[in-house]
């Protein structure tokens, strides 16, 4: 049931994507993306009910969550994304959902929660991080567009693009900080230790520090900002995937 829902959502996202790139009106692609978001959410509800916990506990589930957040962002805050670049955002969501569905079968097996994860804090900590990741992905897309469309910062279009990028970085910075603080709260209430210098914690801190440099530039020019966003995005990718697959620690399940 869950897989049927997810594959249906993927097909609907692809239809919405085709409608978007063919310059269709909001009414057509909007209906397609609304239906796909509903189907996607339905599949996640089915997953949560069958697993007895929210879909935040492993790579497969978090990829499903991330793709849903990207689609929701496109659906409800579409004015923040210029119409000609919306296909790029939707394509990123499709890639995340497609990656989740292409993962080997053992990644999608639902397992009961381990004792430490059975906490109220999980409902804030994980969504906060993935909301931050979603904003950082959008910032990364804007950075790529900036690099692809020339670097004339005085042009109104580029200035608008940089403002949008800045807004996404602020959202990402806030939510990564919320994730960091709530993670510390959770660890404190679970183990009496708010920080363990676990590789995932260290890399989450590095993400925040890199974004911290973004806000403390001597001459905050667009090109510098864009390169910092690219670096922050690479650090985020390593925090999300690299730490889980290359390094081991308290967050090995994630």
């Amino acid at each position: 049931m869950e897989k049927i829902g997810l594959y249906t959502a993927l097909i609907l996202y692809l239809i919405a994507f085709v409608l978007l790139i063919t310059q269709s009106r909001w009414r057509s692609w909007g209906i397609a993306i609304s239906l796909s978001v509903l189907t996607h959410m339905g599949a996640l509800v089915v997953r949560s009910l069958s697993a007895n916990h929210p879909p935040f506990t492993n790579l497969y589930e978090t990829l499903l969550l991330l793709s849903l957040l990207i689609a929701l962002r496109l659906l409800f805050w579409q004015k923040q994304i210029e119409s000609r670049y919306r296909w790029l955002v939707l394509l990123t969501g499709i890639i995340c959902l497609g990656t989740a569905l292409l993962l080997p079968a053992h990644f999608s097996v639902s397992r009961p929660l381990m004792p430490a994860l059975n906490s109220f804090w999980m409902y804030i900590h994980v969504p906060a991080y993935f909301f931050g990741y979603m904003a950082l992905i959008l910032a990364f897309l804007f950075a790529l567009i900036f690099l692809g469309t020339g670097k004339n910062e005085s042009a109104p279009e580029i200035a608008s693009l940089l403002r949008k990028l800045h807004n996404e970085v602020k959202i990402a910075f806030l939510f990564l900080n919320i994730g960091l603080v709530t993670g510390a709260f959770w660890a404190y209430f679970s183990w009496g230790n708010y920080w363990s210098w676990d590789p995932k914690e260290v890399w989450a801190l590095i993400d925040v520090l890199v974004l911290g440099i973004y806000f403390h530039l001597l001459k905050p020019r667009g090109t510098k900002k864009v390169w910092i966003v690219l670096l922050a995005f690479l650090c985020m990718l390593f925090t999300y995937f690299g730490v889980s697959f290359i390094l081991s620690g308290l967050h090995s399940y994630a």
Binding site: P115, N118, V181, A184, W191, W197
Partner: protein, 289 residues
């Protein structure tokens, strides 16, 4: 002045990022005895507690405070945000240097005195903690653990349970469920009496003291001390002491719960300041641009 603080911030943060990132790829010092000295400094178990790491955070905190005092920051909301961040760093220094952590292992049915664990003579902590039962709750699949619960009886208090995500507060200390292990027990048939004891326990019988160790699954034998005199016995065997034949038979396994006792001074304040920091961040970014 503004530029100086920005430059200090950039240099310190870049050093921190490099140090932290490299340390995650290095093994602990026990796995790298021949590492070059420069690299040894960045080994994870050394770097995180090193003076270099601490001083980088300290420079960051102090530079933020100086930036606020000497108008290195422009708006009031920015000043508040940076002061809160500096306060977080300084509280972590205070908390790390003053708070103490202890571990206690209690076997089912046995008791420990909290004041012995925390090395305190304060009457408030002169309490016997008895582990009534350790409970390993499992998920319906019967395999994966759902919760680890230590059911404790605290002298002068109602029974209480310590489990992961549910610590128990006693004064300035909190008790956290840390780990558990299973301990084998043995029955000693002495005359008409049966005594049950776990490895490492001392039991008394008619003024005699019996204690045993050297339990080894691969070479099943015990070293039983009868009033301090060692006797080697197989797991289901006999030995003679004081002209009595004492029979030893394996008993059931019991649980030993490992509980971490943490002094929590400063931590509640740290969490409160962290919340204020998040509010200040929203204020700087959106409410008060």
């Amino acid at each position: 002045m503004h530029k100086i603080f920005l430059r200090i911030f950039q240099v310190v943060v870049i050093l921190l990022i490099l140090g932290l990132a490299i340390s995650t790829f290095l093994p602990p010092s026990s796995h790298c005895p021949d590492c070059p000295p420069a690299l040894r400094l960045l080994l994870p178990d050394r770097f995180y507690d090193s003076p270099l790491h601490a001083s980088l955070w300290l420079v960051l905190a102090v530079s933020m405070i100086i930036a606020v005092i000497f108008r290195g920051l422009r708006t009031a909301s920015q000043k508040i945000l940076h002061l809160l961040l500096a306060l977080i760093f300084l509280t972590i220094f205070f908390e790390k240097s003053t708070n103490r952590r202890f571990f206690m292992t209690i076997k089912e049915g046995q008791a420990v005195n909290l004041s012995d664990v925390i090395h305190s003579s304060t009457p408030e902590y002169n309490l016997q903690l008895r582990l009534l039962r350790f409970e390993l709750e499992r998920h319906p699949d019967g395999l994966r653990p759902k919760a680890f619960n230590s059911h404790l009886l605290i002298e002068g208090h109602k029974p209480a349970t310590v489990s992961i995500n549910r610590p128990l507060a006693i004064g300035r200390y909190r008790l956290y469920q840390n780990a558990y292990h299973e301990v084998p027990t043995f029955k000693f048939l002495v005359a008409e009496d049966t005594l049950i004891a776990a490895v490492g326990d001392t039991v008394k019988w008619n003024e005699h003291r019996i204690w045993f160790d050297n339990y080894d699954l691969h070479e099943p034998s015990l070293r039983v001390y009868w009033d301090g005199i060692p006797n080697h016995v197989s797991l289901s065997g006999e030995f003679t002491a004081d002209r009595m034949r004492i029979r030893v038979t394996p008993g059931p396994f019991i649980y030993a719960s490992i509980i971490e006792v943490v002094e929590v001074a400063g931590t509640a304040f740290l969490l409160f300041v962290s919340l204020l920091y998040l509010v200040a961040l929203v204020n700087v970014f959106w409410w008060n641009r």
